[in-house]
Amino acid sequence: MMKVENLSIHFEQDGELQEVVRDISFCLQDGEILGIVGESGSGKTMTALTIAGLLKEQAVLDGGSIFLDDTDLLTLSAREMREIQGRDISMIFQEPMTALNPTMKIGRQVEESLVLHTKLSKEERREKALRALQDVELVNQEDLYGRYPHELSGGMRQRVMIAAAIVCRPKVLIADEPTTALDVGTQESILKLLKKLNQKYHMGILFISHNLRVVNELCSRVLVMKDGVIVEEGDAEKIFKNPQTPYTKELIQAIPGRTKSSAFYKLLRAKAGE
């Protein structure tokens, strides 16, 4: 179980302070999929990066703790944190086109975590990497193993990213807008894949998105963030159907195509000559 308590972060740039995350607390149960929604600048990505152990240069931690089981990640040294990263906590993010190293073969990239965190032999690593590629529903794993990223499509690369993230079977997978850069069809299949992996390996997923529809589809519980604060929290279905705050209502309204009368659809219909 992962528990975030009273986490506060601010940015410091040229002497100017800017609060990014203000006193947020939540927990992620084992095997749960928790969604965080909010517009850009709401602090959701900063929260994710902090949990993943990658505080940006300008960011200053004001306080709080992040417990993974019984260890407070924020008290660990950089070296100790590196042990946790990739083994217990993994993260995938938005850009599948650039997130893979163009000069490394797919197999090597999926194996990198195993090289760092295990003492497996080359053959064992290969076997595990192929297994991970199979887990993310890529076919011809043997062939893919020796290929370079530029030979793969965006959707395939995102799957490879996921394979590289789960190859060590982490307890927590952070997914920061993993589907935003993909087309709708691919989005759908990646969401299904995350759900499947969650059920198969009982892996906790922290799913971050600005799209409440996507979050509703995948997550059981949802946090709504605005300006670094959690404004609403609860059952995804309930929040989606009966939002309590004006901000959440706004977010739901912003989903294109939810109501046929939305301005977007009016425009489309006008274009189609209806």
Partner: protein, 281 residues
């Protein structure tokens, strides 16, 4: 359709294949000759023979003989060897230290970057050959000292190129991915980023190699590089200038070798950049 295909092929060849293939073939031949020169030369490179002074090229001496009756072909082979050795050593020292300095400054930035790059600027402010001249004057002459002096003088240019490339790559998403799975910083620098800057680095190394060949030849020509009786291409050029009218072959062949080595490496570097560096942003 066919014509179009041919045109595309032609354009492709003109852009990448030609430089790369020609440069590679030329470089392999030159290195082959140099390696041959280390183990075998048709005549002793230092054996003087008064009876055959300044003989024109013949079947016995295909590049002719010099003012002491030494076989020019043998001396060219050996001379190319020492020139090549000095150039390779220069690249090894300059490139090696340049890569370390450039990667660290480019990746970390901050005060480390400021300090190292200001020292770098100070070294770069002197023309590299002039700097090498000063170092030689202080340390004394000799093949290995020339190598060291040129190596130090070549550090700034490599450091600058590598630094720029690392600055470009440090924000890349794949570096973030690597950090997120707990890759240590040295491993990020040299396993994850370095292969990505190889196209730029390789072409810088080949250009640097050319400059080193010419710098060595220039210094030997001035008489402060490789010392007699060792042969070096620059030294042969300088010794032969008195006999330019009576025995032009003494100057032409070392010069030709110099040109071919530089040309081969230059084209190879260009070809590598075209072939492997073009597709990247």
């Amino acid at each position: 359709m066919n014509v179009e295909k041919q045109r595309i092929k032609k354009r492709k060849m003109g852009k990448t294949g030609y430089n790369f293939t020609f440069g590679l073939v030329l470089t392999v031949i030159m290195i082959g000759l140099i390696v041959l020169g280390f183990f075998w030369t048709p005549y002793d490179t230092e054996a003087m023979q008064g009876s055959i002074k300044l003989n024109a090229p013949s079947l016995a001496h295909i590049f002719g003989t010099d003012q002491f009756g030494r076989d020019v072909f043998s001396r060219v082979l050996a001379g190319a060897g020492s020139t090549f050795l000095v150039a390779a050593g220069t690249i090894l020292i300059g490139g090696g230290i340049g890569i370390i300095v450039g990667s660290v400054t480019g990746y970390f930035g901050g005060w480390l970057d400021e300090t190292l790059m200001r020292i770098n600027d100070a070294v770069a402010a002197f023309p590299s050959v002039l700097l090498a001249l000063v170092i030689i004057t202080v340390w004394g002459t000799g093949k290995y000292k020339v190598m060291l002096a040129l190596g130090v003088a070549f550090i700034p240019s490599f450091a600058r190129i590598v630094r720029g490339e690392f600055m470009r790559c440090r924000e890349a998403d794949y570096v973030t991915s690597a950090k997120l799975i707990g890759v240590s910083t040295p491993r990020i620098l040299f396993v994850h980023i370095l292969p990505n800057i190889l196209p730029a680095l390789l072409s810088a190394l080949t250009i640097g190699f050319n400059n080193a060949v010419l710098a060595e030849a220039g210094m030997s020509y001035l008489g402060i590089g490789v010392q007699p009786p060792d042969a070096s291409l620059g030294r042969m050029l300088s010794e032969s200038q008195t006999y330019l009218a009576g025995g032009p072959w003494c100057a032409v062949f070392p010069g030709l070798f110099l040109v071919l080595i530089v040309l081969g490496a230059g084209m190879l570097g260009e070809g590598i950049l075209d072939r492997f560096g073009g597709g990247r942003s």
